[in-house]
Symmetry: C2
Subunit: 301 residues, 2 copies
């Protein structure tokens, strides 16, 4: 299947899940209508749904295909809630101060800073509500706990939140390449890897499979961030749907700043090749994971 | 036992748990030292630890005393992490813009707005990390999942986060008493009730016991918030450790604004009496819960 068709189809699956699980402002929750509307605005603002799709594709690679509706979909949707919250908080005036995201006004532009902070807090908490909701999942409790723990660890202070703090703390400062790697690994890589592992664990992956998928996840996480750095330099604001050139403007160290554009592109290529080679233990059921790795690279040019 | 002795003793139990579970900046996590330090600053800034103590006291009331270290303590500490995150975010310039909390500078005053937002995000996520950490708990997985779900629901958009949004959205506006009740119930009451129920469920409470404790929790949550409103009017900044009179300054509707000080005190008294009467089904093992209800009222004068 053409990767774009696959991505489109899976995006619709994820979005139907988000519609199903996410709070609605009408009816019994109308007291909180303003807050729910703010969360929904960013959740349905047109993301590519890469993390939930990686979760679904990893489960498919394992092959003991779990029932997507009742086993995988709550996990996939919780991952997207966490990703969305992180974008809302990253865009805040106190952080990256971005006015545009996916070509639309950022959350705080519409709902104010307090509203945006709380929309983020609400989405993060909702992710754990959904992951622990026994009405929505038929996975065994031990497995669900393991997945909650994996996701919390990746999203938190030793992962995404810690990486964002490192990123902010190092703005406008010279720092060694090793710090850039630590930022990418924690800020972007951790949740991407956790998305893949969560799907795999739900589908019954054994230890060797989990290790192979961890290597795959680390490399596509790296490729993903390198490509983001590249696009920030080479694409236009219109193409990105957010401010182009903003990294340089904020004095952020990036791959292109360290290596130049051509060598950076080569590093993305190498990461994708390594990701694909980590999948050698899997059969053709991992073809969507392989195609996703190529897709991430192809965004760069 | 004198309530103050009990509170002091239990506070030390909770704080030893927080020391045990919370990340430290040294060693392997030194990459994230700045962020971890910001979280620890607020977590160890001298809270009364009321929510975790209610959790422990509710388990004691049920009587099948669970092993506190391996069953209750992670839950109690996770509740305190969530409470602390909510204070950090509430104090932000975009929210209540408070410079003092518990007599010390607020988190953002020391670590900047971005640092404080991320310290809050980190503490919230750490709570779910701890609740799902199978190395730290011997409770059966189904019970732990039920407790995670209970806490996420109470802390999130239909509870504490939603209540904070309502509170902010209604500043400097006239609104009906019913809205004030909704703010108190969601912003303060939900997490207090969940703290009590989480301890009770961990200890094996049956349905009737859970219902009685829900009534108890709702009433002490109400009393707690009424007393907070009262103290904001009647106490000095020095007594409070935070800005006195700030509610009126921000145009917040409060119990004293609706009813005056005397009638408000009477309402707190009535809520405490109702809380205690909900405990009629319990024997003397619930005496600490009874004393805690009285303690909450006695803060008011």
């Amino acid at each position: 299947m053409e990767i774009k068709t696959y991505l489109n189809e899976q995006r619709l699956v994820v979005e139907s899940g988000l519609e199903r699980y996410m709070l609605t402002a009408a009816g019994e929750h109308s007291t909180f209508a303003g807050h729910i509307e703010a969360m929904r605005y960013s959740l349905f603002a047109g993301g590519k749904r890469i993390r939930p799709i990686l979760c679904l594709a990893a489960a498919q690679a394992i092959g003991n295909r779990p029932a997507p509706d009742t086993e995988l979909l709550p996990i996939a949707c919780a991952l997207e809630c966490i990703h969305t919250y992180s974008l809302i908080h990253d865009d805040l005036p106190a952080m990256d101060n971005d006015a545009l995201r996916r070509g639309k006004p950022t959350n705080h532009t519409l709902y104010g800073e307090a509203g945006a902070i709380l929309a983020g807090d609400g989405l993060l908490t909702w992710a754990f509500d959904l992951l622990s909701d026994s009405k929505e999942s038929t996975l065994p409790p031990e497995k669900r706990l393991a997945i909650i723990h994996l996701i919390a660890r990746a999203a938190g202070s030793l992962g995404m939140v810690g990486g964002q703090e490192l990123d902010i703390a190092n703005e406008n400062k010279p720092f060694p390449f090793e710090t850039l790697r630590a930022i990418h690994r924690s800020k972007t890589g951790a949740l991407i890897t956790a998305s893949i592992l969560a799907g795999a664990i739900a589908a019954g992956a054994d230890q060797a499979q989990q290790e192979a998928l961890t290597r795959y996840g680390e490399q596509i996480g790296l490729a993903f961030q390198i490509v983001d750095d590249l696009l920030n330099v080479t694409a236009t604001t219109e193409q990105l749907g957010k401010a182009a050139g903003s990294d340089a403007g904020r004095g952020k160290a990036t791959y292109p700043a360290f290596f130049g554009i051509e060598a950076t592109r080569e590093k993305a290529r190498a990461a994708v090749a390594e990701a694909v080679s980590a999948l050698v233990v899997f059969d053709e059921k991992a073809d969507h994971l392989r195609a996703l790795a190529e897709y991430i690279y192809n965004r760069s040019h």
